[in-house]
Amino acid sequence: MFKRAFSAGLLGVNGCVIQVEADVSDGLPGFHMVGFLASEVKEAEQRVRTAIKNSGFTLPPKKVTINLSPANLRKEGTGYDFSIAIAVLSAHGIIKSEILESSGFLGELGLDGSLKPVRGVLSMVLAMGKTGIRRCFLPEENVQEGLAGEVMEIVKVQTLAELVSLIRDPDSIVYEKADENTSQPPISYSVDFSEVNGQLLMRRATEVAVAGRHNLLYIGPPGSGKSMMASRIPTIMPKLSREEQMEISQIYSICGLLPPGQALMGLRPFRAPHHTITAQALAGGGSRPRPGEISLASRGVLFLDELPEFQRQTLEILRQPLEEHRVTVARISGSFEFPAHFMLVSAMNPCPCGYYPDRKRCRCSKMQVRRYADRISRPLLDRIDICVEASSVAFEEIRTKQKNESSETIRKRVEMARKIQRARFADTGIYFNSEMGGRQIERFCELGATEEQFLEKIYKRLSLSARGCHKILKVARTIADLEQSEQILQSHLAEAVSYREIEEIYWGGQGEREKLTNQSFSKQEHKSQFTAKK
């Protein structure tokens, strides 16, 4: 007899419904599973047969064929156990019910017939909801996550035997209700900006960066509070919307990183991978692609401490996600897309010893300073709009009793600026000032006559590039938004200029003083001269 049951698998971050078909026929007794299965899915045979036996059912010696459809998708994970068992039982005629056609089953089976939790339930429930499945049977641990999807009824099941009795008597099914405690995730952070003493400049720059979601680079000596400041950035970002919560929770659910007893992520993520991280771990990968750190940081902050210590190759991977806000991972099993709406915050020491330009402590030569900073590639640097230097903190500042501004106050200002941006970009498909392209800058960053002159002066004196100029305009736009000013004023431009990275000192640009020696000699000429002589 042919019967089927519904389950779901994962494709990247999204779920997809899998039909488990079972057929029992005469022939040589056996258990055959097909449908592009990974080894853990094939092993389900042993778990399912033993669990059925131990739940008190006897299977007659017949030929059983299982197919997981669509058969061209690779199936991985242990979540199919449950649905396979159901399909087998109904194909043998042990359970008969109408409700099987409109139900989904997720869970791993133990040999004793007990049900164990699986990863990625949220995505799978959402996918099943879309195809018209009305209820889903889940192991106890996954129930809250299933409820968070809010697309179908959820039934808690502990053992296979319990399920069989429930299906035989559908009226006894109890649908779970959302638990107030777990479905409303905590929305207050354990850290706060008021704990950061001093560092006025860094505070200000951080606020500007968050308001326009500009990527940020801190430069400063060790122990100056770079990491402390960075870890508090999520606290001044606007609160997560319901959609954002769902998006983040799906990713965390797939990785099995949801906090225990919590169905949804209520806080913006803060990910700080160590600098030895590989490119795959950062972008996502593996033969069965899983989201990497940049996806885990989506809607939150990706903090790269000691930026020059990261492998260059690893950092280069950030380029595409920083532009497109998603990352595509192509593997033999298919190409997967993960979200990457993160704000990049990075920190570095100014030189190998960390104390430049404090000449009392730092003995690094200019060349060393430059070489250290040069480890960061130009293209990545181009995507960082704000670069700010941390001062070493004075004792009075550490011990001050003065009340600092709290995250709450800063967040209100940020939210205001974000609101202005939302209204501005309503029909453009972007959301933040940092995302503006050339044409949008022209449209939204119009300058008055005096400001135009001022910018020209800066452009010429500081020998900026076109890209540098765009960066300044974007940041100035955000500063103006923070002050709720329609027009970009000279003071906004001046502040934005101060946040640009100084190439002459850190990034090998030729210094101003070198230029003054009015030389007409180029390195090439020198080379040709020498080779000719040799």
Partner: protein, 434 residues
């Protein structure tokens, strides 16, 4: 009493005798020089050959030269006269008996050379031809080899005990009719030090002084840069071959200096920059100079070595004073304690050199009369040592964005420089008073 008097008399006599001796020696030296001019090319060749031997120092070579009257004569007696014909074969020393005669000759004639040095000279004989070929290529590669008996060789340098017998030169050597001043200092220096080194050298160069330094990063580079900005020749003494620019960050200076001034080194072309060579070149820097200006130096630093060598060589030392707590001024303050001149402006050096100068020179802050009130306030909080923006904000009581705006204006106006992203310092200015 009487005994003491006798002793004193003895001393006087001794002193006089020594003086006489010295004078005689000097005359002898001059005589030497004239004699040696007979065949300077052979002399140059042999010196080039000998200078390839790392084991032979400048003093050893000088002793050989003094003993045999000329290096050419030494070479001839060693290898080209009858008793050592066996050694002239390309394989070098192969006949034991013959070898022993040459050895015996060296042992007898040159007791001032160690056994190892003697052996090295003997086995180095085989390289003579390749050395000669290399030597002939020098001019093609844009270099010259100036030796002690040349007219061009700096007279002052010859006065020191261990003067290099030969100098490799790209460009020219300092003009002997004009004063030479060495401006040296730390490599990892402050912005303040760099600014002052540049200003000092520029003013000195403008007044006809030739600047010598070591082309290192930091103060050395800045002083060369200053002289170049004045459009005057400047001279760099390297610790590597003159065809190598080390450190490469000073490439522009190196090039410009090679064209208008000169690059010199006692080390042969292609010698890589080795740490051990750099203290050695310091004696040449101090030896060539009439006066040495130390801008910034840490305690126990290379710049202090230069100053110490200079002191031994009887050069005048000038040091820029600094704050007691500044590590970079420790060396300078120490020098002043030891009796170096304290300089506050290039004028002091010019006065010592007896150079006439037109204007009174004082290192000054920029004139801030043209600035607005807030700008003056911010400017007054700054120092030559860069400060972080946070400190400026705390001191002025202005808002961050206000401060940024003002500092940008000041930067654009050339009053302020940024040493790092958010560190600001005053720019110094040479102010001319009547």
């Amino acid at each position: 009493m009487g005994k003491e008097c006798e002793k004193k008399n003895d001393k006087k006599e001794k002193n006089e005798a020594e003086k006489m001796k010295n004078e005689e020696e000097k005359k002898g030296k001059e005589k030497n020089r004239k004699e040696k001019n007979e065949n300077p090319e052979k002399e140059r060749e042999v010196l080039y050959w000998l200078s390839k031997l790392v084991i032979l120092g400048a003093v050893s070579i000088r002793k050989i030269q003094e003993h045999f009257r000329s290096l050419g004569a030494f070479y001839e007696m060693m290898f080209e006269s009858g008793f050592s014909f066996a050694c002239t074969s390309k394989e070098g020393v192969n006949n034991i008996e013959e070898k022993s005669t040459v050895e015996a000759f060296l042992e007898r004639e040159c007791p001032f050379l160690s056994k190892r040095q003697q052996m090295a000279i003997l086995s180095h004989r085989a390289n003579y031809e390749t050395c000669k070929a290399e030597f002939e290529e020098l001019s093609e590669r844009g270099m010259r080899f100036v030796i002690w008996c040349d007219e061009e060789y700096p007279e002052k340098l010859r006065e020191i005990y261990d003067y290099p017998m030969g100098l490799f030169v790209r460009g020219k050597l300092p003009d002997q009719n004009h004063p030479v001043v060495a401006v040296v200092g730390a490599r990892g220096c402050s912005e303040y030090g760099e600014q002052l080194a540049e200003r000092f050298s520029m003013t000195l160069a403008e007044n006809g002084v030739q600047i010598v330094s070591g082309l290192a990063s930091g103060i050395d580079g800045a002083s060369h840069r200053g002289a170049l900005r004045a459009g005057k020749p400047t001279f760099g003494v390297l610790g590597c071959g003159v065809n190598i620019c080390y450190p490469s960050e000073n490439f522009r200076i190196y090039e410009e200096m090679g064209r208008t001034g000169g690059i010199l080194s006692e080390f042969g072309p292609d010698t890589p920059p080795k740490a051990m060579n750099f203290p050695m070149r310091n004696r040449i820097i101090s030896g060539m100079a009439d006066a040495i200006v130390v801008v910034e130096a840490r305690a126990r630093s290379g710049s202090l070595i230069t100053a110490d060598l200079g002191m031994e060589q009887g050069r005048e030392i000038f040091a820029l004073p600094g704050r007691v707590t500044d590590h970079l001024s420790e060396g300078c303050n120490h020098l002043i304690q030891q009796g170096a001149h304290l300089v506050t402006s290039p004028e002091d050096v010019l006065q010592f050199l007896g150079v006439k100068y037109q204007k009174k020179l004082i290192i000054h802050e920029k004139n801030v009369n043209g600035l607005a009130k807030k700008e003056k306030l911010v400017y007054s909080c700054l120092d030559f040592k860069p400060k972080h923006l946070d400190q400026i904000v705390a001191q002025t009581g202005l808002g961050i964005s206000d401060c940024m705006g003002i500092l940008l204006e000041l930067e654009l106006g050339g009053y302020v420089f940024r040493s790092a992203n958010h560190y600001y310092g005053k720019k110094s200015d040479m102010w001319e008073n009547g």
